[in-house]
Symmetry: C2
Subunit: 354 residues, 2 copies
């Protein structure tokens, strides 16, 4: 039956995140989560949180966290914005910066699959640029007139990153639009464009606490940019929801930023595990793309990605398969603990009949 109000309802095509199974004892390598717990300082901040304060609204600009981040990056506070996960930060950034009525925004064809979802949702025209046969982004593809650019570095799901020269080339050829560099995975060893903020006023960098800081469950994202662009991001947020970060998240995030020692030690563990897993998968015949992230993008000349994905799932090992053009025989494998990766490798060996 058609409901009389149906014509006022929005038609949507939502993003589908990596499956969150309710099963216990699964090996979860499908959402690029960090296998290690957050810093003990974060634990302390939550477990000692002064809950009497919860009856009050949070500070709308998350002052405490913004200040800690400014210090961490060597920026002024008015160059830092925080939001409810980097997905919210990017959604707000689309609304703030991508408002060209007739020119499309540009991003790679193989990339974070939320980018086109936001475009459709906000009615932002867009054009994807094909990555090359090695899945690398070609800077020259971004020379044409556009309404804005968003590039992830490292890219997902390929895990590959580009250096300063590439980012500067993009920025130099796009001085009349805002360029967003989505550095969700940057801490795992890729080049960060933060140093370019003083040179390019149209650069906005997005970071997240969900990967390198082991805080996917806490929902904290960051934008860095010039004060004018950051101020607009705050204004846009205040047109949508004045308080997006709760007081506990602000305290937890601040504690994380203030514990560099733990942060670096966790990063190093993930990177070491990534490197040896890459070698092991390579030894098993996989093509492993060079990763600067906390995941590996792989394909195998004789094993079907889809079949391996399903067989692993049946054994409670969750990895990510994308049924998308160009990459439907590839798999994205998040880096877990050494024990988790051993279990995966063991499973694949068994699957190969070795």
């Amino acid at each position: 039956m058609i409901k009389p109000w149906s014509d006022k309802l929005r038609k949507v095509d939502p993003y589908v995140p990596g499956e969150q199974s309710k099963k216990q004892n699964i090996i979860k390598l499908n959402a690029n989560e960090n296998p290690y717990p957050p810093s003990p300082k974060v634990v302390e901040a939550i477990h000692n949180f002064d809950t009497d304060k919860l009856c009050l609204y949070p500070n709308s600009s998350a002052y405490q966290l913004t200040e800690a981040l400014a210090q961490h990056y060597g920026l002024d506070m008015n160059q830092v914005f925080v939001g409810n996960g980097s997905d919210e930060v990017i959604a707000l950034a689309y609304m703030a910066y991508f408002n060209s009525p007739d020119k499309p925004i540009l991003f790679p064809d193989i990339t974070y699959s939320f980018y086109p979802v936001w475009c459709n949702f906000f009615k932002t025209p867009y054009l994807t640029k094909a990555v090359d046969e090695n899945f690398r982004i070609n800077a020259k593809d971004y020379y044409e007139k556009n309404g804005g650019v968003i590039i992830p570095n490292p890219n997902a799901p390929t895990g590959m990153s580009e250096g300063r020269e590439f980012i500067e080339e993009i920025l130099q050829h796009n001085q009349d639009v805002v360029v967003i560099i989505d550095e969700a995975y940057v801490d795992f060893g890729s080049y960060s464009a933060v140093e370019l903020l003083k040179k390019y006023e149209n650069l906005v960098i997005v970071h997240t606490f969900s990967k390198s800081r082991s805080l996917a469950g806490m929902r904290i994202g960051v934008a860095l940019g010039n004060p004018e662009l950051i101020s607009l991001l705050n204004a846009v947020k205040n047109c949508y929801n004045s308080y997006t970060l709760d007081s506990v998240a602000i305290a937890a995030g601040t504690a994380s930023v203030n514990d560099d020692t733990y942060f670096l030690s966790t990063l190093n563990k993930v990177i070491e595990t990534r490197e040896r897993t890459a070698k092991e998968l390579s030894d098993l015949g996989f093509k492993v793309f060079p990763s600067h992230s906390n995941f590996l993008f792989v394909t195998h000349p004789t094993i079907s990605a889809k079949e391996l994905f399903e067989a692993a799932k049946a054994e409670n090992i969750f990895i990510r398969f994308f049924d998308l053009p160009r990459i439907n025989n590839h798999l994205r494998i998040s880096i877990g603990t050494d024990a988790q990766m051993d279990a995966l490798i063991g499973f694949i060996k068994k699957y190969q009949g070795r």
Copy 2:
């Protein structure tokens, strides 16, 4: 200097929330916060939270909290949506339900000042309907063709509420659009339309944890409606940000819903304090509008609201003054503890030279 990317930037007119002072020892009666801490069960949920889980993404539909709320309201889980504060819930609801290209959405002229901000932000045409000389909403004003209706009950900043007959009258005359009843303050004694959900499929009710549950700092909002409308709200959320509630907020919110005894005792304290404060202000010559919320809306025949607001602020007592047509000689005073209200009354007596 005009920046070359300026023409791609969004022009906005953001909402301005009640001032959050960084001063200590202020009496904060300007943001309708609850003066009491959240339930001891909430404190326990936060202080015992299993922080090892924070490296994982939250459950995207906040399963645990949705289930507790469904039980609390006697609804099915698929009739319940949770978001990052009721402001986010309403923002998402605008995007989901208010998409008539040519008919305006309707709401009162004196009401929550975020309603027109969202309209401007989402480019939703709107028409305000003047409340009467006693600041009451006239249901007949909402009979005309429209793209949707949003009515707060109780209304803010007046605090006055309407009963079942009024709500049904609105619903019966608006069966071809979605009608949102914003019940942010409903727990403080007004009629709740939850029982009407089984009768009207186009009804969506919005609640918040920020007022009656003392959790403004935790950012939890709720929408209740028929499964089709709730499912759309989830789809719209998944076009914007898949995970808006963090894992700690989900645990804290669930604990709050499961502690009815504490909830009711806090409510009763606020209501008692409201009633005796209303009487005292009335005795001091104020016109006090009948409140079913956790605040009082008042005006005085000889005292300037603006001057009283400023004098109180100088004494570290924060109340709310709106420099808006029709209400610029009125004040909105949140209900604090008895001691806080005594301080306010004492200040006003001194101000009056009594």
